[in-house]
Amino acid sequence: MARFIIARLGHAIPLLIGVIVVIFCVLQMVPGDPVQAIIGQFPVPPAYRASIEERFHLNDPLYIRLFQYFVNLAQGDLGYSFRAQRPVLDLIVERAPRTLLLAASGYAVGIVVGIMIGVQSAVTNHRSVDRFWNALVLVGYAMPTFWIGQLLVIVFAMNLGWLPTQGMAPLIDRSTGFAWVLDRMRYLALPMTTYAIYEATRVARLIRTSVIGTLGQGYIVTARQKGLSRREIIQGHVIRNSILPVVTAMGYSFGTAMGGAVLIESVFSWPGVGSLLIESIRLRDNQTIVGVVLFVAVCVILMNLIVDILYSWLDPRIRLAR
């Protein structure tokens, strides 16, 4: 196992180098003036412009900036954000737990709900219950997440006034203990639900197809003939054997999600990695953009690795190999 993990991580290094080179080249080609983005709407005094350009090496040739980036990266330095006036690593470390909270809770709810819907839909294949869930899942899947988010805000925040419209926590925070936790759950509720709706529809579609396939397998027929109850068959045989496609899809998308569900974070002003990326692109804070993309790439690689390990646990026939 250890050799497998080390080998997989070793293979990731050239990939990450490639990601950095590509993103540097892309940013080089995109027009934009970080100095003006800092200054605002008025002309910049020439001395000020020169000072910023020199300080952040904005006029250095691409290969020098790239080389310097790799030198810094080797020392654990992801660069410096001129926008936040802080190391990029600090920003990612600050934002990543927020995105993790949102993504993990959204995935957890989404996967559980998705599996329940998908299984029920599959075992009632072509009956009215199946048609109902199919239609609902299709509608949920087709709706853009930002629109779902806005609908939830309109209903639960604006009209009913039950939940806050945006943010991660109260701006004036006096709560402690359990009230502190409850406060944060109120802020998490809508973005998490938005996330969960999207993921649940994806999972439901995948699991339905997979369960229908599993139900046709010979060992299920045998289990029935052995007199196992419907619940025992589904829990003991069907779900476990149907879940591999879901693990694959969810593992990959969870890695990507650590880059922030950009639209959801935007709709709810959730100050996570996705918001950081958007702000950085807007102000051409290139080192932060590179840092976030690198972070996402690492997350995807790690999640793929975890998926491979999960495979061997879920299906003992699959063995890890170099």
Binding site: P31, G32, G40, P164, P271
Partner: protein
């Protein structure tokens, strides 16, 4: 003999008092009966947070930074709702008869928010060592002969030549005073105090959570005790304007600058709930929605084409559909808000009325006949940033529809701010650019940039390629003339621009603020003008919470 002119500020410059009252409250006005301020409570203000790379507003003109610096910083004077200058750190000021020497008399015994004493040396230091980065000082500083501190409470600024708008460069928004003991001997732009400032304002920064909020608490050393009344203020960073309004309506924030598309929504909520107000800043720096033409290439290198597209426009549709009725027609290049400088006899409404037939005739004369219902295609580009998009997209669509009536096909390109700046100001690869720029407190500061030569391709400065030495000379005369003489130069200025039309000023738009009825005694808190935000030192809440 030198004639001392105490508080000449109130009568100088084109920005001076407009006839209308200081404040117009739109919606349900629920004025507080109890006028006795109460201490306590925390208020929340919303901003999109763009440009909050620094809190030092000498280093940026980004709106959120200016809004935030109103909390921690102060300056020599501010303005009331009528545009009149109100002493703050300076108790008074004198201007020599030759308009070249400005003497400011400062309050004695003031302290910075860190408890260190303030003196005239700080003002001198700000002008000499910090203001060189300030985008608003590009006119005044090069013209400054000297700045001296003859005693601890006096500052004397001497100019090389008279500059009519010089005093505008000393107000608190464009010249926040900076502490010498913090910045002296350091790299001003890299000083950590830029993110954790020490100032003379009513509040001091307690926490800055990037991308989320800034928390301010009362500055115990504030010069105007017992103010401020609040225990603190939180600045919420909410990037989307729609979310800002949602948060305002739900009571999550107490103040926000309103986009024009949201004013009516806040007005309706004010009537329905009485929990919010929408307020227009009566004496506001005009936002000038304008079209810049690329005069380097056809078709807009032809004056008749520029005139034709002006005739083809029905600007009233822009006001009704894009600005929801909250803007008004621009009379000429100098916004009507500058009442003592703008001459309404140069009237775009009469020079270029909506006249499709005349537009077609001009285009025929310019060599663009109508063939199969079409004359030519132009690219209309604009910034589609969060704040601009909701207004600029409908304006662009209205223009495209109106120009189509005279055979001009229009391709719309709404771009990210940075792409738009590159396309228009750096590459000059555009036909028409839609922009809205603030006129600030004087044409010298906010209007000249649209019409004067721009050989260095500076962003947000005349991108048209138009460079008329005659106009530049007139602008210089207007800038250096005595107040009473400026209008005549600006009339010539308006005539030249109306003839050459490198830029069409379509509308002038006032500023709107949305705020919560948690605030009391609104007439003192919101007795502000031009680009200023509420007097946060004056703000107090019902029952202090």
């Amino acid at each position: 003999m030198a004639e001392k002119l105490k508080h000449r500020s109130m009568m100088r410059g084109g920005w001076t008092a407009l006839a209308a009252g200081a404040m117009v409250l739109v919606g349900t006005a629920a004025w507080a009966a109890d006028e006795t301020p109460k201490h306590g409570g925390i208020a929340v203000i919303g901003t999109d947070g763009s440009g909050l790379t620094t809190l030092n507003s000498h280093a940026t003109s980004a709106t959120p930074v200016l809004m935030v610096s109103d909390l921690w910083a102060d300056g020599l004077f501010a303005r009331d709702g009528k545009g009149k200058k109100v002493p703050h750190i300076a108790t008074s000021w004198d201007i020599s008869p030759d308009q070249k020497t400005y003497t400011f008399h400062l309050r004695a015994g003031l302290k910075w928010s860190d408890g260190k004493p303030f003196s005239s040396a700080d003002v001198v230091f700000t002008l000499k060592d910090v203001a060189k980065f300030n985008t608003y000082q590009t006119q005044m500083l090069p013209n400054m002969e000297s700045v001296e501190a003859p005693d601890a409470n006096t500052v004397v600024v001497t100019l090389k030549a008279p500059l009519a708008a010089a005093l505008e460069g000393f107000d608190k928004e464009v010249l926040p005073l900076m502490p010498k003991h913090i910045y002296e001997g350091t790299d001003v732009l890299q000083n950590p105090a830029n993110r954790n400032p020490v100032g003379l304002g009513p509040y001091k920064l307690q926490a800055f959570e990037q991308g989320r909020s800034l928390t301010f608490v009362r500055n115990p050393n504030y010069w105007d005790q017992p103010k401020p009344y609040l225990d603190g203020l939180v600045v919420a960073i909410i990037t989307d304007t729609q979310q800002q309004i949602n948060a305002l309506l739900q009571g999550e924030i107490d103040f926000v600058k309103l986009p024009y598309t949201q004013v009516a929504r806040v007005q309706e909520a004010a009537k329905a709930t009485g929990k919010v107000f929408a307020r227009q800043v009566e004496v506001s720096a005009p936002e000038r929605a304008s079209l810049d033409f690329n005069m380097r290439k056809p078709p807009f290198d032809n004056q008749k084409v520029r005139q034709a597209v002006f005739h083809a426009m029905d600007r009233t549709r822009i006001i009704s559909d894009a600005y929801h009725g909250f803007a008004f027609l621009a009379t000429n290049a100098i916004p009507a808000q500058f009442t003592e400088l703008s001459d309404p006899s140069v009237d775009y409404g009469k020079l270029y009325p909506h006249d499709v037939a005349k537009a077609g005739k001009l285009l025929d004369e310019a060599g663009f006949p109508l063939v199969n219902g079409k004359r030519f295609t132009v690219d209309l580009t604009y910034s589609a940033s969060v704040f601009n998009r909701s207004t600029f997209e409908p304006i662009a669509q209205i223009l495209a529809a109106q120009w189509k009536e005279v055979g001009i096909e229009t391709t719309l390109s709404g771009l990210d701010d940075q792409l738009w700046i590159d396309k228009v100001y750096k590459q000059n690869n555009f036909d028409v650019s839609l922009v809205s720029l603030t006129g600030r407190t004087d044409p010298t500061l906010g209007v000249d940039r649209s019409f004067l030569c721009n050989p260095n391709k500076l962003p947000y400065v005349n991108p048209s390629g138009y460079c008329n030495p005659e106009l530049d000379a007139i602008a210089a005369k207007a800038n250096g003339a005595a107040a009473a003489d400026r209008k005549q130069f600006y009339k010539t200025y308006e005539e030249i621009v109306a003839r050459d039309l490198n830029e069409i000023s379509m509308t002038n738009v006032p500023t709107f603020h949305g705020f919560s009825t948690r605030f009391e005694a609104l007439h003192t808190q919101f007795d502000v003008s031009f680009n200023e935000y509420p007097n946060w030192a004056e703000v107090w809440l019902k029952n202090g919470k």
